[in-house]
Structures are given as C-alpha cells and as structure tokens.
C-alpha cells in the first residue's frame, strides 16, 4: 500500500497567506514513499508552508507514516473528524489548539476517543514536547512505543524551527536598526556638513552620554526630524 502525504494547501484551504503552488509540485517526491498497511496516520495542523514541510520531512525520516497537513484552521474539528487520524500535531502557539480540546472531549459512541498525549506517554517526553512548543493529540489506546518516534521527530523539528524563528527576528531587527542609523547619519551629515564616520561618532557619543543604544538615539532623531519637517 502506498503511503500518502496529502495536503490541502491549494484545495479547500484557499484563503491562505501564500498564493502559488509549490506544495503541489513537491508532492510527487513525497508521495512515492511506501508505507506499511498499518502506518500511523498523522495530521499536522500548520499554516506556514515552510514549517509544515520541515515537520513532514522530519516525520518521514523517522518512519513510514500517512501524513496530512491542514493549513486552514476554519472547520478544523470537522476536517479532523473526517480524516480520523491516529495522531494530531499542532503548534502550542496556534490559538486553534483549543478547538482540538473540544474534539478530545467529544467521544460519543461513533467517535474515536482522542486525548492529549500526556495521558499516555512518559513524563519526560511530554514536558519536552510542551517546551519545544508542540502539542499532540492521539486516539485512545495507541501504544506509547509507536508514538515515541513521531514525537521525537516532531520535537526535534519544532526546536529547530524555534531557533530559526528567533534568529530571523534578530536579523530583521538588526536590519531595521541599520536602516534607521543610516538615515540618522545622513541627516547629521547634511545638517553639519560632516563625513559619515564623524556623523556616526556623534551618534555613538550621544548614545553613551545618555546611556542608550545607538539605534535608540538614531530613532529619536529620525522621529523628531519627521515631526519638525
């Protein structure tokens, strides 16, 4: 039986922040994977496509699973009930997680009971997952031994992603600060008729005198200039 990695990036979830079709183009590559007939089916709830692929890759390395990505949170409960997965993975930062709580409770006679994994797995694994920022919901009775590789892989990818997110934010901030400093330098150069190095030295001195960061002083200057012009 062929393992399936399906996704709804371009299907039902049409209202997505990204418009084109890279997901579909990548499908043949991931779709070739052979799965065992009883491969665990996993749903990953993730709107960010890059991140979804990272997680899917990580899971593929860990074993043969049927993986389905849900990108659009609307009708999440219905989508999950329809797919009837063994495991649902969701970012702890995703507000839609509370929708899954509802599913975890709805265990009528027709429904497969779903529980948050912490009920069934080793304490260490659960807190590692919470720390890494991933939450998992599993159907009742799933063996912890089958769940462990899934969670290990998810935790590793979520950690990696957390690091990348921090780095990205830092880089962005640094870039923005540099832009502001450049503008402030330009203003000083023009107003005083001095060179770039001198202008920067002035900024740095003002920052040291006021016990502030150069970027803060530059921002104040740019703001003030904007108000005066």
């Amino acid at each position: 039986m062929l393992g399936r990695i399906a996704q709804n990036f371009s299907g039902e979830g049409a209202r997505l922040p990204f418009g084109h079709d890279v997901a579909l183009q990548l499908l043949p590559a991931v779709g070739m994977l052979c799965g065992m007939p009883d491969a665990l089916s996993i749903i990953v709830v993730e709107a960010d496509r890059e991140r979804a692929f990272m997680i899917v890759d990580g899971l593929r390395e860990a074993g043969d699973f049927d993986i389905y990505v849900i990108a659009d949170p609307s009708g999440l409960a219905r989508q999950i009930q329809l797919r009837d997965p063994d495991v649902v993975l969701i970012d702890i930062e995703n507000p839609s997680r509370d929708v899954l709580e509802e599913l975890a409770l709805a265990s009528g006679p027709q429904e497969r009971p779903v529980a948050m994994f912490v009920d069934r797995s080793a304490e260490g694994l659960s807190s590692a997952a919470v720390e890494a920022g991933v939450s998992a919901y599993v159907v009742d009775g799933l063996q912890p031994a089958r769940l462990k590789p899934v969670l290990d892989a998810a935790i590793a990818r979520f950690r990696l992603f957390q690091r990348m997110r921090t780095e990205l934010a830092e880089t962005k901030r640094a870039l923005e600060e540099r832009k502001v400093i450049d503008r402030a330098k330009g203003m000083i150069m023009k107003a005083r008729g001095i060179g770039e190095d001198e202008a920067y030295a002035l900024l740095r001195k003002a920052a040291m005198d006021q016990n502030k960061r150069v970027a803060e002083v530059a921002q104040a200057l740019v703001t003030a200039a904007g108000l005066l012009s």
Binding site: P95, S96, R97, D98, E101, M116, V118, V130
Partner: protein
Amino acid sequence: MTTTPVAAGFLPLTDAAPLIVAQEMGFAAEERLALDLRKAASWSALRDMLAFGQVDAAQMLAPLPLAAALGLGGAGSRFAVLSVLSVNGTVIGVSRRLAAALASGGYDFAFDDAVAAGRALFAAEAGMIRIGVPFPFSMHSELLNYWLQGLGGDAVQRVSIRTVPPPLMAQAMRSGEIDAFCVGEPWGSLAVERGDGVLLLPGTAIWSFAPEKVLAVRSGWAERERALGGRLIRALWRAGRWLAEPSSRGLAAEILSARRYLDLPAEIIERALTGRITVTPQGLQRQVSRFVEFHDGAAGFPWRSQAQWIALQMARCNGLDPRVAFERAEGVFRSDLYRAAMRGTGAQLPAASLKLEGAVDGEMAVAGESQSLRLLPNRFFDGRVFDPLAAL
C-alpha cells in the same frame, strides 16, 4: 532585600489586567516578587504550561481547574485556585445578519434584559443558531447554557455551541461559520469595531456576579509554597484595588495595549474597564454597571459556593455524577489559603466561605471576620437562587 521571580502565564484579554498591573505598577515588587509574564495563545496551552512547570501561576477560566478536578480534559493535572482575578467581563454578540433580523422585529438592543434578548433572538432566527465560545470549560459556555436552559422552550435544541479561539471570533463570524458568540473583552468590541458583529448582552445580564478568571497554581505548589502563594495573592489584591479606581482606567488601558500584552488599541480595551460599551458598528453606546469587577464586593475571594455552582453545571452538561462533582469542586477553590494570605492586611474577609449565589438584589452587608462586608448585587436573570447546602 531579595526579589523572587515567578513565571506567570496569561492570555491577551482585558481581564489579564490584575497580573499585568501587579507587575507594571509595582504591586508585585511591594511583595518582593518579579512576575515573569508569559503570553499564551490558547487556554489548553496555558493549562499545559502550568501543568508542566513552565509557569508557576496562571490566569485561568474559572471552570478550567474544576474541569481538571472532574477529569474533563487535560492530563490528570490538579490545580488550586488561590483567588478570583475578575468577576464578569464577557459579552454575547450576534452577526450583522442576525442583528438586522432582530432590528426588523422591533428589538431595541437595550443590552440589559436577558429574557427579552433571548426571546427576540429566537424569534429572529427560524433555524439553528451556531454560537462560538472560547473554550469548552469556560464561564462563557456555562453562562450560555444557563441562559438557554432558563429561556425554556426549545432554546437549548436550537443552538449548537462550538469552540472558536477569541482572536478568530470576528473572522469566524464574518465567514459565516458562527451566528453568535460569547467572548471575553476586548474581542467582542473588536468584532464591533471591524463591523463583523453587534453586541446583544453583557454577561452580567445573565449572572450579575459571575467569577470569570482565577489565579491558578499546581495543587502541589499551593501546599509547598504557601508563603510565596500568599505574596502573589496580596500583590494581585492590591492590583485589583488599583484597577477598581475610576482614575486608573485610562492608564490601565494604555499598559494593556502594549505589544507584549494585548497589542490592541487602548481605546478598545478601555471600553470594558469603564463599562461604556459600543454595541453596534454605527456607534450605539450602552453603559453597564460592574461590567468587569476586580475588587469591590470581595471580588477576589474564592467562594466555595462559586466552585460548586460551576461544578454542578459542568456535571449536568457532561453527564457526570453531581454528588462527586460537588465534592471534588470543594477543595479546588482555596478560600483557606486566601484568608491566611489576606489576614492582617486590612482587607475585608467574609466570615463564611459559602454563600447563597443569586440572592443579593442591591448591595448587602454580611458578616465578616472582623467587620461587616459589603456584597455587590448577585442575581441570576431568572431569579433563581443557588443554595450550596440544598443543591443536591
């Protein structure tokens, strides 16, 4: 003098104010505490952060620690409630389509009569009404259930309640996934501001003194860290007292609007704090008395009767044994720890830890530990009284 850091979790809501104000206005520092405030994206995430020790204290929906005690949701974690952070503060809103139907039926959007609003709502909509709430175990869903049951007729059968995260509530209404919502501020006002909804009732119209958010800790932590818990209780009590002063509201709204907290305009946050609520996108305003209460009427006291009312409601809705629910609820709201922490501060403490819920019309003086205590109006919309000693 050493300061003890305490990691505390909150959700971006107006009633996270006591935790945020305690830190920002120095009430935590007065107790030699430094609150490390962590914003969570969902109630289940915050519950897990608390359960696994990423935070030691958390703002929580009043029913959530009780649900955990009843084995509903979560992972078998046990929590203790040290104090009530806020009373009231929710709104019920309807879609523009439903509001138009209500208006053409002659409804006046008085925003104070739960019976009239309920009758008008079911007269305006012939089919099912889908109502969004933030979490299965929340005062939003308990108030809704109580209201629908009290309305009688087929109100309960004509409603389907589903979970929608507050930040997505306005969007869900716009895309037609829900017809109405019950949500905490500022998310109701935000839906009005974006033109997606019209507010129908404040939560106070259903129960005028409903415990809304509580300060929760792990139950083991509550026992082990009694002194530290006491300092937290006192810091939050002082923050609540400051918040209750009308002169504090503007500044409180400014503080809450900061990016690391709610990241929303102060003007929208201030509506709940002043009780001056804009109910329609056209700007119709209504003044609500005690829209949200942080201090007066012993608002911070965790009454065991409040816990029992909630537990019984949840037991009924989830098919649990009411007797078991009643017993388990009793120990979750730690009025004993609250008393121990507040004795000697000059705060008024009630003599009893149980009271009749829904039995105060105006304001009422009751016996206190040292002096008498003033209770605020406490009424259910249907006039029923909950007597914890005769509830089973």
